[in-house]
Amino acid sequence: MNVTQRLKAFGAFWYDFIVGDDWHVAALIVIGLALTAAATHVAKVNSWWLLPIVAFAALAWSLHRATSSK
C-alpha cells in the first residue's frame, strides 16, 4: 500500500465515520445550523425551532430516498 492509497483509506474512514450512508443528511444539518446562526445573530430571531425542523425533514427525506426505489 503506497502513501496515496493510505491517505485515501484514511480519508474514506473519516468520511464514513462522520458522514455515513447519506451525505445529504450531513449537508442539511450544516445548512440548518448556518440558517439558525444567521437568524439568531443577523435577524435577531430566537429560532430554536429551526434546527429540529431541519433534522426531522432531513430524516424523512433520507428515508424517502432510500425506500422510493424499492
Binding site: F17, I18, D22, A37, W48, L51, A66, T67, K70
Partner: protein, 255 residues
C-alpha cells in the same frame, strides 16, 4: 442537569459499541489464538488511552460555544444516521444487523487466513483483527465520552456510563462465551439515535446562539419528541411497504 440522563445515554451508546467489539474478539480468539487476540486488544486499548489523553484535555480548553456548535452538528449527524438505519431495519428495508451472522462471517474469514508470525506476535491475523475491531469501536466510545462529558461539563459521569457498559458487556461475554445475540441491538441503536439526535440538536442550536425555552428542560422534552417522530417514520414506511405489496385493484367489468 441531573447526571443520570447523561450516564444512561453514554451507557447505552457504549454498550452497542462494546457488543460489536466483543463479537470480533470472540471470533478472533475462538478460531485463531487467544494470546495474539489479547495482545491486539491490549495494544488497541493503549492506543485509545493515548488518543483520549491527547484529545481530552485539549477539548476542555476550547470555547464552549464553538465546541457545542461543532459537537452538536456531529452528534446530530451521527444520531440521524443511526436513526435512519434503525428505521430501515425495523421496517425490513435493510437487513437486521445480526451479531450471530456477523460472528459467522468473521469466523469464516479467520479460518481461511494463513497463520503468520510478525513482530513478536504469534498470529498476526488474530492480532490485527482484534486490534482493528477494538480500536474502531473504541474510537466511537471515546468520541461519545469526550463530547458528552465536555458539553455537560461532567466528564466523570460520562466515564462512569462508558465503563459500566464495557464491564457489563465483558462480564456477560465471558459468562456466555458467545456473541451476544439476545441483545435487541436494533432497538438499542434506535434509542441511541434518538439520544444523539436530541443532544446534538440541542447543543448545535445553542452553539449557533439560540436560547432554548425552559433551558436544559428543553432537552428532556426533546427526547420523546424525536422518539415519536422516528416511530412515526416506522409506521409511515410500514404502511408504504404494505401498500406497495398489495395487488393492484382490478377494474370492474360490466357485463
Amino acid at each position: 442537569m441531573n447526571a443520570l440522563p447523561l450516564i444512561l445515554t453514554v451507557f447505552v451508546a457504549c454498550a452497542v459499541e462494546a457488543v460489536e467489539a466483543l463479537t470480533i474478539i470472540l471470533a478472533a480468539g475462538i478460531t485463531r489464538e487467544w494470546r495474539s487476540t489479547f495482545q491486539g486488544t491490549v495494544v488497541a486499548l493503549v492506543a485509545l488511552a493515548v488518543i483520549t489523553a491527547a484529545i481530552g484535555p485539549a477539548i476542555s480548553y476550547l470555547p464552549l460555544t464553538g465546541l457545542r456548535l461543532v459537537v452538536g452538528a456531529l452528534l446530530a449527524i451521527f444520531g440521524l444516521q443511526w436513526l435512519r438505519k434503525a428505521v430501515l431495519r425495523a421496517t425490513g428495508y435493510k437487513s437486521l444487523h445480526d451479531e450471530a451472522s456477523a460472528y459467522l462471517r468473521e469466523v469464516a474469514a479467520a479460518e481461511s487466513a494463513t497463520k503468520e508470525s510478525r513482530r513478536g506476535v504469534n498470529d498476526w491475523y488474530a492480532f490485527t483483527l482484534a486490534f482493528k475491531g477494538v480500536l474502531l469501536e473504541g474510537l466511537e466510545v471515546v468520541f461519545i465520552v469526550i463530547t458528552f462529558g465536555a458539553n455537560q461539563k461532567n466528564v466523570g459521569a460520562a466515564v462512569i456510563g462508558a465503563a459500566a457498559a464495557i464491564v457489563v458487556v465483558t462480564i456477560t461475554g465471558i459468562a456466555v462465551k458467545a456473541p451476544l445475540t439476545k441483545v435487541p441491538e436494533n432497538w438499542m441503536k434506535f434509542a441511541v439515535g434518538v439520544m444523539l439526535t436530541s443532544f446534538g440538536t440541542f447543543w448545535g442550536a445553542e452553539g449557533a446562539g439560540v436560547k432554548w425555552p425552559g433551558n436544559d428542560g428543553a432537552l428532556l422534552a426533546g427526547v420523546p419528541v424525536v422518539a415519536a417522530f422516528a416511530a412515526l417514520c416506522i409506521l409511515w414506511l410500514r404502511s408504504r411497504k404494505t401498500a406497495a405489496a398489495a395487488p393492484a385493484k382490478q377494474p370492474e367489468v360490466v357485463a
